[in-house]
Symmetry: C2
Subunit: 326 residues, 2 copies
C-alpha cells in the first residue's frame, strides 16, 4: 500500500487520469479535497470573488480528468455550491469551510459504504456463489466499498459465501485489487478470467452478480467498467439476479437514459500490453485496437439497485426518483 | 515464426501439452506424424506385431497430452487402423505406409480448410463486422484455418469486412496469433479484450460471430476455447448469427451431447500471470483460481456449423449425421 502526497490540483488531475486514484466514490472524495487545494492556491490578498472564480476553473479542470464517473462532477459541484453559499465570510474562513465540506464528503462516503452493505446483505443467501467485476471495494471508496461492502457485511454476520472475481481486463482491477482485498480480509475468493463468467454461471457455481457503478441515469441505465454489460447479459440468460451497488451520488437524474452517458476511450496500449511496474507486451506492434473503458447496462437487465438509501427494485424512473430525490 | 524439430513421441507430447503445437486440426496432423515417429522407434528386427503394440501404446500416450480436442484421438485411431489393415506387408513397408497416411491427413487438412472457406463465405455480407474468439486460423491447422479460412476466402473474393478479435485470456491466442495472422494477411482486424464482446454487439459494430471447435457432439453441442460459450450467449441476446467452423474430424458422434466432453483444467499460473518470454505476474501470490481451458456451447445457441462437407443449419443430430457420416 502506497501513499501519494498531492499538493496541487494538477497533481490530482494526473492521479485520477492515470488511475492512481480510481473508483467512482474515491474519485469524488479526492476531487473534493482537490477543490480545497485550489482554494488554497490563491495569490496573497485575494478576495472571495477570486476564490469563487478559481474554484470554477479548478472544477472544470478536475472534471476533465475522467468523463464517465459522475461522482467527480457531483463532488466538484457540491464544493462550488458551498463556496457560493458562504462567500460572505471572507477568504480565510471560506477555505476552512471548504475543508470541512471535503471532510464531510469523506465521512459520508464511509457511512454510505456501511449503509449499502446493510441493505445489500439481504441478497446473500447462505452458501451462495457471487460473481463481481472490476473493483467496487475499499480500494475504490473511502472505506468498505459499494459492491464489496455487501460481502464485508455478510462476513460480519457469519453468512458463508464464495466470490468469483473477474480479472477485468485491460487494467486487471479484479486481479490486482478485488482478489487481493477480499483474500486479505479472509473472504473465499477465486480469480477467473473475464471469459469464464458464462461458464461459472452455466455450472451453477454462481447464483448472484454484484457490481458497482460509475453513473446511473434517471431510468436506471448504468455505466460501469467495461465488461459489466456482458456479465449482465449472461446473468439474464442464466436467470441470475444482477445487482448494482452505488451511493446516491452516483445517480445523474439529469440524464433520461444511459445513451447520454459519456464513455471514455483509453489508449490502445492498455490492450496490447499488461499493466505492471514494467509493462508487458501481449500483442504485435501496430495492431489496431478499440478500448472503451466503460459500457452501459440497460435498466431492464438490472434486478435491483442497492443504494445507501435502500433497495430500488424493480429498476425504473419512478422507483429511483422516490429514493434518490427524497 | 519458429520451427520446432521433433524426433520422438515424447517431444511431441510436450509440444502439444505446452501448446507449442495448438489448434485442434494442427494437433491431429502432428499426432499422425507422432505415430510415424513411434513406428520408427522400434528395436532392430522387430516384427509387425511389435509395431502394432508400439503404436497402441504411443497412441494412448499421445491422446493423454490434451483431453478436449477430438482431432488428436481421431488421427491416432486412423493411424492405428492403417497399421492394422496393412500388418501383412512387413515392418519396413508398414512404416512407409504410415508416413504416407500422415501425409494424406496433412493434405486433407489443407483441402478441408479451403472447403470450409468456400462454404462459409456465404455468411460474409459486404461491409459486415465479424467477431472471432481464440485462433482458428493458419496457426491452428496446416493451412488457412477453419474459422479464419472463411475470412481468407472473403478476402480472395474482394468482399469488404472488418474483424474484431477477442484477445482470449488466459493464453492470449487472439492477441498473439489471430490479430498477428490477420494483420499480416492485410485483413482489417481490431483487437479487443474479451470483456468488450458484448459492447461491440450492442453498438452494432459486429453482425456475425465465427469460431472454431475442439470437439462437436452428435447433437451439435460444441467444445471450444474458454469464453466461446459467453460469446454465444451474447450473440443470441443480440440476435447475431453464431457460426462454428470445423472439419468432419472434429465431430465425435459417439457422444450424444456435450455433457460427456472432457474439459481440461490447466494451471492457475496461466491466470495469475500473462504469458511471454518472461511470464509477468498480474495477481497477488497465493490467490485461488479456476482455469478451465474450454467450455461447451449448447447446439441451441449455434446458428450453423460450417464443415468441409457443407453447412449444417439448423444444428441438430439428424442434420449432423446426414453430413458427417455420409
Amino acid at each position: 500500500v502506497a501513499t501519494l502526497r498531492i499538493h496541487h490540483p494538477e497533481e490530482l488531475w494526473t492521479a485520477i487520469r492515470t488511475l492512481a486514484v480510481r473508483g467512482a466514490p474515491a474519485i469524488g472524495v479526492a476531487a473534493a479535497y482537490g477543490m480545497v487545494l485550489a482554494a488554497r492556491d490563491l495569490p496573497p490578498d485575494s478576495q472571495s470573488a477570486q476564490l469563487i472564480t478559481a474554484l470554477h476553473a479548478a472544477g472544470d479542470y478536475l472534471k476533465s480528468s475522467r468523463p464517465t464517473a459522475v461522482n467527480l462532477e457531483w463532488a466538484v459541484n457540491r464544493m462550488r455550491q458551498t463556496a457560493n453559499a458562504h462567500r460572505g465570510i471572507g477568504v480565510r474562513q471560506l477555505q476552512i469551510r471548504l475543508l470541512d465540506e471535503a471532510h464531510a464528503i469523506h465521512a459520508e462516503d464511509v457511512a454510505m459504504c456501511l449503509a449499502i452493505g446493510r441493505h445489500g446483505v439481504s441478497f446473500m443467501r447462505p452458501g451462495i456463489g457471487v460473481l463481481t467485476h472490476c473493483n467496487a471495494g475499499a480500494l475504490a471508496t473511502s472505506d468498505h466499498g459499494t459492491a464489496l461492502a455487501i460481502f464485508y457485511e455478510a462476513q460480519r454476520r457469519a453468512i458463508p459465501f464464495q466470490v468469483f472475481a473477474d480479472e477485468t481486463r485491460p487494467l486487471l482491477q479484479g486481479a490486482r485489487l478485488t482478489a487481493w482485498e477480499l483474500a486479505a480480509s479472509g473472504i473465499d475468493v477465486t480469480l477467473i478470467c473475464d471469459s469464464m463468467a458464462g461458464l461459472v454461471m452455466q455450472q451453477k457455481k454462481v447464483g448472484l452478480v454484484i457490481v458497482g457503478a460509475d453513473r446511473i441515469a434517471a431510468n436506471g441505465d448504468t455505466a460501469n467498467k467495461i465488461g459489466t454489460y456482458s456479465v449482465a447479459q449472461l446473468a439474464a440468460a442464466h436467470k441470475i439476479p444482477f445487482i448494482v451497488a452505488a451511493p446516491a451520488s452516483t445517480f445523474d437524474l439529469a440524464l433520461a437514459t444511459g445513451a447520454a452517458i459519456p464513455i471514455e476511450e483509453r489508449p490502445g496500449e492498455e490492450i496490447t500490453q499488461v499493466p505492471g511496474p514494467v509493462p508487458h507486451r501481449t500483442a504485435p506492434a501496430g495492431i489496431q485496437t478499440y478500448n472503451p473503458a466503460f459500457d452501459v447496462t440497460p435498466a431492464a437487465l438490472i434486478t435491483a439497485l442497492v443504494t445507501d438509501r435502500g433497495i430500488i427494485s424493480p429498476v425504473n424512473e419512478a422507483g429511483i426518483r422516490a429514493r434518490i430525490t427524497a
